[in-house]
């Protein structure tokens, strides 16, 4: 008898590992179909201008050029985006940022493609441009999208609880500060890529590096005017995503190219520079906080104003704002609060989804405020957080109910008893010459799923194959987080199989079922719930069939194990293939549709913000600690130690869990210290990885991870999403550590060595 595999909770090795490390796994960028054409875009070099004339005559007859397309070649609405469809596949009347695609070229090779792109002449009539979101809100600001009632305001709203203005004056201590948060570039290693082709039956098939195959399909049908049922989108493993492939990147251009390539396959693969230019970024923002407490340490009032620069097009700038507002009071009870939010169009590159989705910006501010205020009342910053942290059943200052598992207090307690915290004073006082040391902490949360108004649905499908093995049809793209390998783990648990009894089909609109985006910390939570139920259903069907076949009397007498059924009373073993052979193909397939629960309590916010995703029901929590050491001579910051205590529910796979904690923390360290995406009047100044600095292996420490395992009753096996909470706290924890070392807070991030040097020089002069 085979041993029963119980993979939940074990570090089952990722089934995608061997393919990836042998170079055999095919990413979207790895497809070079026979006889393919390269496609590439000529992009706007004006931030805001009317298109007067597009002269393609210099390249029409260039040898090696197959086609040159403009918006006039687009049959459909020529608009993509969700929820707001405002972004042209190819600019028509005007361009709205430096990088807007205007002409699409199809060529035999990359050299002539580039030559053609350079030679095409576009005549523009420049328009006044606006690069600052506050300026874009002014009465007479140039309009990005002329016909909007709200002008340049994409989304605005407020949350009001109690009377924060009056309450602020009743506080014993009040702190106020204005934070400036930068753009952050996703910088996934696989830049936007894909291939597309229209076959003899008119099916437009696109293989793309995308987090959203189903949404892409809908958007493409609308934008390109091609029937939905004739569009197929396939999402192989992505070479990273982090939110930057949450929606159309090259798919619109690729689809358009394939519709004009005479049936030849087309390929696009953005260069790093083009990726930086054209992809979405984390929204830069200004966050103003006023936070007040009583002298007994109770938080009492908060005012918060959030302004996000969403750039030229909406992308997910509305939902990102809604989540920023939802997370603006962090993990704290605050009876009086006013949160105002504005997501604003400008002539900058497009702001969109990025791991954390609005939460990193506000938590960066709030968690520094918590330290500033704690200092004002001479409280220990950790005790101050513990005093105000929510428990299950509480409401946060933003009016969000903690209706599900809530283990922020245990996370804080883990930190409180940890040597990295308890021995901090000794560590700080032992700083070597010319070094300053500080220890900072930060706490926060992250919602799982889509919020109240957009149904978070996953449709799982699993099949018993004729040979007794199983096939999982993954519904949600895997950008590296490992949700699809985790699907194997979940199904293996339910069906009593080992991992090698499964094969995985990656998301494909033809074969797998719509299950939403790979986003919002929902991939394993939502699809896992659906898959668990589908697998259970299949298991029951198998056992019932075995009884029907006279192999035993009662279903409970059977044990399902790797590739076989064991009939316990008789000790007989029945190969699963035998049971499979007695089932019709449709019986061997099990599907299950899962809809995630939402909180529908009466909201205190306007309907637009609610529609954009406020509030969530299930939250992950964390607190992070950073020990930093600053070089007094260079201003450089070294992160000496880093600790993350995380409540993301039960841990399904410790190794994958740690992957998220470590990778997210390091991406957050980049956001905190080095990643300085620079624009000058809409012109990209950091065009490559030499000027936009990502953390390398030399820059970051090993990260200590403590899992605080609450049991989330709504999650599969008690889990909840971990993908985003991990990035939210590096910036404030590091900033608080730096502030303790140098004696003052820096309100503009990233916290560069240049900024620190200025402070240190000023200190020395005093």
């Amino acid at each position: 008898m085979t041993t029963y595999a119980s993979p939940i909770g074990s570090s089952l090795k990722r089934v995608d590992g061997p393919g990836k490390i042998s170079g055999l796994e095919k990413y979207a960028a790895d497809y070079y179909p026979d006889n393919f054409l390269w496609a590439g875009a000529k992009r706007s070099d004006h931030p805001h201008a009317l298109i007067k004339e597009i002269d393609i005559s210099p390249v029409r007859n260039l040898p090696g050029i197959f086609a040159v397309l403009t918006h006039e070649d687009i049959k459909g609405a020529n608009r993509v985006g969700v929820p707001e469809m405002d972004q042209p596949v190819l600019a028509d009347r005007k361009v709205r940022y430096k990088g807007d695609p205007v002409v699409l070229v199809l060529a035999e090779n990359k050299t002539v493609l580039q030559e053609a792109i350079d030679k095409i002449v576009i005549k523009y009539e420049p328009l006044p441009a606006v690069f600052d979101p506050e300026a874009a809100l002014a009465e007479n600001a140039p309009l990005l999208h002329e016909n909007r009632n709200d002008k340049n305001l994409l989304l605005g709203g407020r949350v009001v609880r109690g009377n924060s203005i009056a309450a602020m004056s009743e506080c014993d201590a009040v702190a106020e500060a204005d934070f400036q948060l930068p753009w952050q570039e996703h910088a996934y290693l696989e830049t936007e890529a894909g291939v597309a082709r229209v076959d003899e039956e008119g099916i437009l098939a696109i293989i793309a590096s995308t987090q959203t195959p189903w949404r892409d399909r809908n958007e493409l049908a609308y934008a390109l005017g091609w029937p939905l049922d004739k569009i197929r989108v396939i999402a192989p493993y992505l070479g990273g995503g982090f939110g930057g492939k949450d929606g159309i990147t090259v798919q619109g251009l690729l689809g358009l190219a394939a519709l004009h390539s005479g049936g030849r396959p087309v390929k696009m693969w953005n260069s790093r520079e083009e990726s930086f230019l054209s992809s979405t970024k984390r929204h830069p923002g200004r966050v103003h906080y006023e936070l007040g407490c009583k002298k007994d340490g109770t938080l009492y009032a908060m005012n918060c104003r959030i302004v996000l620069d969403t750039g030229a097009y909406a992308s997910l700038g509305g939902p990102v704002l809604a989540l920023a507002m939802e997370h603006a009071a962090g993990v704290y009870r605050i009876p009086h609060a006013l949160i105002e939010g504005f997501s604003v169009y400008t002539n900058n590159p497009v702001g969109g989804a990025f791991r954390g989705f609005g939460a990193p910006q506000v938590l960066a501010g709030l968690e520094q405020m918590m330290d500033i205020l704690a200092d004002k009342i001479a409280w220990d910053p950790l005790a101050f957080r513990l005093k105000n942290a929510v428990m299950r059943g509480d409401e946060t200052g933003a009016g969000v109910w903690m209706s599900n598992s809530t283990a922020i207090i245990p996370c804080l307690e883990k930190l409180q008893e940890h040597p990295l915290w308890t021995s901090r004073q000794a560590w700080v006082s032992q700083a070597p010459p010319f070094k300053l040391r500080g220890v900072g902490i930060a706490a926060g949360l992250q919602g799982t799923g889509y919020g109240p108004m957009v149904a978070d649905i996953a449709n799982a499908k699993i099949e018993l194959l004729p040979d007794g093995r199983f096939r999982i049809y993954s519904g949600v793209a895997d950008m590296g987080q490992g949700n699809n390998p985790t699907n194997v783990q979940i199904a293996a648990e339910v069906l009593g199989q080992t991992a090698d009894c499964f094969e995985l089909i990656q998301p494909d609109t033809l074969q797998t079922l719509p299950s939403g985006s790979s986003a919002a910390s929902r991939t394993t939570y939502s699809y896992g719930n659906a898959l668990k139920a589908a697998a259970l259903q299949l298991k029951e069907r198998i056992l019932t069939r075995a009884c029907n076949m006279g192999m035993g009397l009662y279903a409970e007498d059977f044990l399902l194990s790797s590739g076989r059924l064991n009939h316990l009373p008789s000790g007989r073993e029945i190969p699963l293939g035998l049971v499979a052979a007695s089932m019709r193909p449709e019986e061997r397939v099990s599907i299950y549709s899962y809809t995630a629960p939402v909180n529908r309590y009466p909201d205190k916010i306007n309907p637009d913000i609610r529609a954009a995703g406020f509030p969530h029901r299930v939250f992950a929590f964390a607190c992070h600690l950073a020990r930093v050491q600053i070089d007094e001579l260079t201003g450089e910051v070294e992160i000496s130690d880093y600790l993350a205590a995380t409540d993301a529910g039960k841990v399904l796979n410790p190794q994958l869990y740690e992957q998220q904690v470590q990778g997210g923390a390091v991406q957050g360290m980049g956001y905190a210290l080095w990643e300085d995406f620079k624009l000058d009047r809409g012109e990209l100044m950091t065009r490559n990885l030499a000027t936009y600095i990502l953390p390398t292996s030399m820059d970051v420490p090993d990260i200590l991870s403590i899992a605080v395992e609450s049991v989330e009753e709504s999650g599969p096996f008690g889990m909840k999403g971990i993908g985003e909470i991990v990035i939210n706290l590096a910036l404030p924890a590091i900033a608080n550590g730096i502030a303790r070392a140098v004696g003052q807070h820096i309100f503009k991030s990233p916290l560069t060595a240049e900024q620190l040097l200025l402070i240190l020089e000023k200190r020395a002069a005093e």
């Binding site: 990836k20 996703h186 070479g239 991406q667 292996s697």
Partner: protein, 156 residues
């Protein structure tokens, strides 16, 4: 122009424009897409291959430079069915997430362990500092290299 070289132990003689980059030759011409490209300008290490056993960035090499050389790509790392101990360690230690940096990381690791069979964590970090990874935070990659080095030393 004809270029003759050895690729993963197999002799190749191909007609190719001498000024095309090696990464294009491998990926587009020969179908060895295990070698990745993520910057095209020597900043990320995703395109790392071994040329006469030494790690090189294939996005910065021209095809003509391959003449008479022996090169190894990720596809040639474990000629048999069994994974190379470094590959195995990457899988076992969880060093792979999206995996797009992995081929380059593995090639750089081969080079490192040839030069230094017993590197400490700091030396590993230094040796891999030219290879960017956006997913892992590097920790499990360092774990994997450490464990592979130990395993390979045991076998000596």
């Amino acid at each position: 122009m004809k270029i003759a070289f050895e690729l993963n132990g197999i002799k190749q003689e191909i007609d190719y424009l001498p000024d095309r980059r090696v990464v294009d030759l491998l990926r587009e011409e020969l179908g060895y897409t295990g070698t990745k490209e993520a910057c095209g300008s020597g900043e990320c290490g995703a395109c790392t291959i071994l040329v006469d056993g030494v790690s090189k960035l294939s996005c910065l090499m021209l095809a003509a430079q391959l003449q008479g050389r022996s090169i190894t790509t990720i596809e040639g790392m474990s000629p048999g069915k069994k994974l190379h101990p470094i590959q195995q360690a990457f899988v076992d230690k969880g060093a792979v997430q999206c995996g797009f940096c992995s081929p380059g990381m593995l090639m750089a690791t081969v080079d490192l362990l040839q030069r230094n069979p017993a590197p400490d964590r700091q030396q590993i970090r230094a040796a891999l500092s030219g290879n960017l990874c956006r997913c892992t935070g590097y920790q499990k990659i360092i774990d994997a290299v450490e464990s592979a080095a130990a395993e390979m030393r045991d076998k000596l």
